[in-house]
Symmetry: C2
Subunit: 307 residues, 2 copies
């Protein structure tokens, strides 16, 4: 089985949406990526850090999905990273209410020995120096390195971010972040500029408006599945990235044509994530539900015009 | 050849975008619908009204496209409907600067005798009583009646609008209008409610975010083509509707599967419309450009996951 190395936060989230609010629940980029990638035939490991306030049941939840957590450091006496946010009524935007870095503040990532030759590396949202630090530890060149990031790092660690962006094959960011990073309003122009920064493939996530994949003159689009109700968008972007990276890892094919399929798998898994609070839906999700929804994606997008 | 009857404004527009501004130029829903539908193998006629200030060259432009204008009334001493608007920087929203109804104020539509048995009727944006008045004159039941409307009529002629909506097969409106008409934020729920009002098919236009087609439990999505630059969105929705109705008229097939293709043709034609001011791009457009862009739509959306 191919190996996927996942880097990112493992965290507590407290979420408010128009539909209700949660206490501290399981969250974090690496958590969502790991759960999403677990629907594919692969070996995966998470590199991250938590405090000893992190409950054993959450650790079990990850290992139950066959996610290797030997690279998930538990800091004695430390507190787990905490994020709290409130979504606006349209669920397309949110305010951050609280961020407590805690053990993340001076985290030094350690890649497990047997994952230093991973086939695919998924650098989830974290300080760009941590992302670079993971790449530095790889003993063989991965077939594909995917990076996810956010505007926060563009605001406060841009030089470090640009350095790590140079080293990756695929970048996944949302539309506003693509505009901020490139200085271009048109997403077509933004994607072209970002490709000049290093990544051959640029994935722009537009939330309920789907996702675009750019590579040179080629572009592919995957819609979000139209849902009766979006309950909680938290983690949708990470779940998308995890589905993308997971499918690529399983299929061992890094062609543009295969990335189209990976984008569809990412959109598929993200469409489940938003149906309940936090990781709840991803934890209850079954493989046959994923297959059944892929059929919906096909009928949603496929047409038959003869040319 | 099958017949398409088009109702809607024929107008002067003055447009401001971040890229420049125009004097009074050719505009109007029926104009864009007619130009767009002219790319299909069909006979079409426009029912509308202008003043005698409307230049012969604009009339010639329509007849050059084989559009029958015997139902386009020219009111002696009357002034043509005028609309002026300014787009915001993102081109997704606009302010109306001026609206002069002029000859539209007491327009009584007259359907040409040989179009009273049209196969498809495209009721473009106009007062709902004018739209009803056209349906009243049909001597045979059309295979498909498509209605486009806007929030203006929901605000000031809702009862009349609901009456004509009952009588149509397909309604095309934008996302905000679908929310206003249904009182539902979720577009899936909005489409279900609107289907209860009469139309079996609901098309929700989301501008740069594509278009959705709903029918019972089925849904299809066509993206907008990602463009380097959108120059002027005026008429894009009407061009979309014209492509949709034109393709249905040509193909004589009102199945959901064929409407998927019609939505793609509509998106295709609309993607040209926005490339220049007003009708300029639609007038210069050649059929082989349309075919070539259909190939782009295929590679943009088609994927190959085996299930």
């Amino acid at each position: 089985m191919n190996k996927l190395l996942i880097v990112g936060t493992v965290a507590f989230d407290a979420i408010e949406t128009p539909f209700g609010k949660t206490d501290k629940i399981l969250g974090g980029a690496a958590t969502y990526i790991g759960l999403s990638a677990s629907f594919f035939n692969l070996q995966s490991a998470i590199v991250s850090v938590v405090g000893d306030d992190f409950p054993q049941e959450y650790l079990d939840l990850l290992t139950d999905r066959n996610i290797d957590i030997s690279g998930l450091e538990v800091v004695k006496g430390g507190k787990t990273f905490f994020w709290s946010g409130r979504y606006h009524n349209d669920l397309n935007s949110r305010d951050t209410l609280d961020t407590q870095l805690n053990v993340l503040a001076d985290f030094q990532p350690k890649v497990p020995e047997n994952y230093k030759n991973s086939d695919v590396v998924m650098l989830g949202n974290l300080h760009p120096l941590v992302q670079s630090g993971v790449l530095d530890q790889m003993t063989t060149k991965p077939k594909l390195v995917v990076l996810d990031t956010m505007n926060f790092w563009m605001d406060c660690a841009l030089p470090e971010l640009l350095e790590v962006i140079k080293r990756v094959d695929v970048i996944t960011i949302n539309d506003e972040e693509a505009r901020q990073l490139s200085g271009e309003y048109s997403l077509v122009k933004a994607a072209a500029k970002i490709q000049e920064m290093g990544p051959k493939y640029v994935v722009i996530k537009k939330g309920e408006h789907g996702a675009l994949l750019f590579n040179k003159g080629n572009v592919f689009f995957a819609p979000a599945l139209p849902l009766e109700e979006v309950f909680d968008p938290t983690g949708a972007g990470d779940t998308f990235a995890g589905g993308f990276a997971g499918f690529i890892t399983q299929s061992e094919n890094v062609s543009f044509e295969n990335m189209k399929n990976a984008i569809i798998y990412g959109s598929n898994l993200a469409s489940f994530c938003v149906e309940k609070f936090g990781t709840e839906r991803m934890v209850s999700l079954e493989k046959d539900e994923v297959v059944s929804r892929l059929k919906q994606f096909k009928s949603l997008t496929q047409f038959d015009i003869e040319l």
